[in-house]
């Protein structure tokens, strides 16, 4: 049972990070990060490449020694009780390497043997849709299958906290969806998940709370909905017409706060998208035009990031 750490909503946090600092020579990769993760929560670290997400996770799982700050996991101080922490956490790295000729079942048996508390390998095979691949060698698995195996290995000790570092990077959409389902399953089992990602949709879909990280600092931390609600970004209405519309008429549509046009394609920023779309359709009808395509995009965490930093996540 947890013996220490912060409290969140009356519950003792399974993971508490306070003033975490890590430098590589003159480069400060992590600059005083602090956050806590509640039991059963999926907590996201969202940021561009080089923001310090991986370094943070590597410090939390004991792959790197932090230069400063404290890390408490399941009530155990990482620095003083590393073995106790390792018994309680599961980790999926960006890329998990295993001996090329080990089979899927052998890998699960091997990793299960390292822990006092073990999940049954056969149950993990079934849970991560790997039963058909149980006797397949690691070198023969696809990228998605390797990531599912990495996830199964991370769950082999039934961890209380699961660390996932960019788990879906380089996966095809189908494999990503499968992994998302697996992560939701982990949460449903009451375990905490710390997920680092640079995919906005992934953070919005999966995370209960998101810390937006940039240059080694948390620049915003809240639920995705609250973060988005806090931004001044407008809904975008993108449409294409058979022939260009008059720019003045478009700008005068109800609720429009900004217009960007490129030939027949136009993007409107609108504070009242429903009324803007109705007015737009009337405009096209009255001018004898034809609507070819129409898309609505709500503000996202990308907009939050742009508003906070002045640049896009993938810049």
């Amino acid at each position: 049972m947890a013996r220490g750490g912060a409290t969140l909503g009356g519950m003792t946090a399974t993971l508490t990070v306070t003033d975490l600092v890590k430098s590589y020579g003159a480069v400060q990769a992590v600059r005083g990060l602090s956050f806590a993760v509640a039991p059963g929560e999926i907590f996201g670290l969202l940021g561009p490449n080089g923001a310090g997400k991986t370094t943070t996770i590597e410090c939390l799982i004991g792959l790197r020694d932090a230069d400063g700050g404290s890390i408490t996991i399941c009530g155990h101080d990482l620095r003083r009780e590393g073995d106790a922490v390792r018994e309680r956490i599961g980790v999926q790295l960006q890329a998990t390497a295993l001996p090329e000729r080990i089979t899927v079942r052998e890998a699960l048996q091997l990793f299960a043997s390292f822990y006092a508390k073990r999940a049954a390998p056969e149950a993990l095979l079934a849970r991560f849709s790997l039963t058909d691949k149980a006797t397949a060698r690691f070198e023969t698995l696809s990228g998605g299958q390797k990531q599912r195996l990495a996830m199964a290995l991370a769950m082999v000790n039934e961890p209380e906290v699961l660390f996932l570092d960019e788990p879906t990077a380089a996966l095809d959409p189908q494999a990503r969806r499968e992994l998302h389902e697996a992560i939701r399953g982990v949460k449903a089992a009451g375990r905490s998940v710390l997920l680092s990602t640079h995919y906005i949709d992934e953070a919005e879909l999966l995370c209960d709370r998101v810390a937006i990280v940039d240059h080694g600092r948390i620049i915003a931390l809240d639920t995705p909905a609250n973060l988005i609600a806090g931004t001044s970004a407008s809904t975008r209405v993108a449409f294409t017409t058979a022939a260009p519309l008059a720019a003045d008429a478009v700008r005068a549509l109800e609720g429009v706060s900004g217009v960007s046009a490129d030939g027949r394609a136009t993007v409107l920023a609108s504070a009242a998208p429903n009324r803007t779309i109705i007015a737009l359709v009337h405009l096209i009808e009255s001018s004898g035009g034809e609507l070819v395509d129409l898309q609505i995009r709500k503000p996202s965490l990308e907009d939050v990031f742009i508003q906070l930093t002045g640049r896009a996540l993938r810049d």
Binding site: D83, E106, Q109
Partner: protein, 277 residues
């Protein structure tokens, strides 16, 4: 303990699935046996001294090439990084890897001995338990050296370069490939500073009527060389691909090599400790 045994079992299984490892682990040792049997096998067959050389060469090869190639290959691919995240300690992983290699070289040695009995009229060892003890200590010393190679080398090419740096001197002037009494007089003392000399001596004595304890100094030398190398390999052990060696690495390596020098100086001053024949 369970994790250690499972890692040991899986290591042995993976070795059996690796064709290259099987060739280097079993076919090449048989080639050594045939080569030395053809060169040194007299009209009465292979002598205990020559069989000591055969066993020492194949153990040296398995320890200084086979084990480090596997370890460095896995480390540089990130396999050991993943192991590091588990609660099983460094010592257990090292011990498991060393014991796995010992079992591999021991099985190759058994094969060699059986073939030598069949093809070169080699008798059963006069002191089987002595041979088990000697072979275990020889393996301990060489596998310890292999562990240092694995921790220092950053690529498989580097393993081969470092391995050859140790392998060739022991084969040519260390009494392992060429019997020490066939070496020029001025070269013979040099062999006292190389672990292979003590390995061949201990193994040959165990097969011959003399017994391993005819030269207990050789057994003690193997224990010291193995212990120093294992401690240094453990201290310098690296989990991560591309991880830098500790700044103190040269001092630790000097400690390991220093034991060879001290052992050689003592043997040089006491010729009876390590008889040439």
């Amino acid at each position: 303990m369970h994790g250690f045994l499972t890692h040991l079992r899986i290591s042995l299984i993976l070795n059996c699935r690796n064709l290259q490892a099987l060739i280097f682990g079993y076919v090449v040792p048989v080639f050594f046996l045939i080569a030395l049997g053809s060169v040194f096998g007299g009209p009465n067959g292979l002598t205990a001294a020559s069989m000591g050389q055969v066993l020492a060469i194949s153990t040296l090869g398995g320890a200084c090439f086979g084990m480090p190639i596997t370890m460095v290959g896995e480390r540089e691919r990130g396999v050991w990084r993943r192991y590091r995240l588990t609660p099983l300690g460094t010592g257990w992983f090292i011990l498991s890897t060393m014991i796995a290699r010992f079992l591999i070289v021991a099985s190759a040695a058994l094969l060699q001995y059986a073939l030598a009995m069949a093809a070169y009229h080699l008798p059963l060892p006069a002191h089987p338990l002595d041979l088990v003890l000697s072979f275990t200590l020889v393996s301990f010393a060489f596998i310890g050296i292999g562990l240092i190679i694995a921790t220092v080398a950053t690529s498989i090419g580097a393993v081969q370069a470092l391995g050859q740096t140790l392998f060739l001197p022991m084969i040519i002037i260390g009494g392992v490939g060429i019997p020490v009494w066939n070496l020029p007089a001025w070269v013979q003392p040099i062999s006292l500073y190389l672990p292979g000399r003590y390995a061949v001596n201990a193994l040959a004595n165990s097969i011959a009527p003399a017994g391993a304890f005819k030269a207990p100094y050789c057994l003690a030398a193997l224990v010291v060389i193995g212990a120093a190398a294992t401690v240094v390999g453990w201290k310098l052990f690296r989990w991560e691909p591309g991880q830098r060696l500790a700044r103190s690495a040269p001092l630790w390596i000097l400690l390991a090599v220093g034991t060879w020098i001290v052992i050689g100086v003592i043997a040089h001053a006491n010729p009876a400790f390590v008889p040439a024949r």
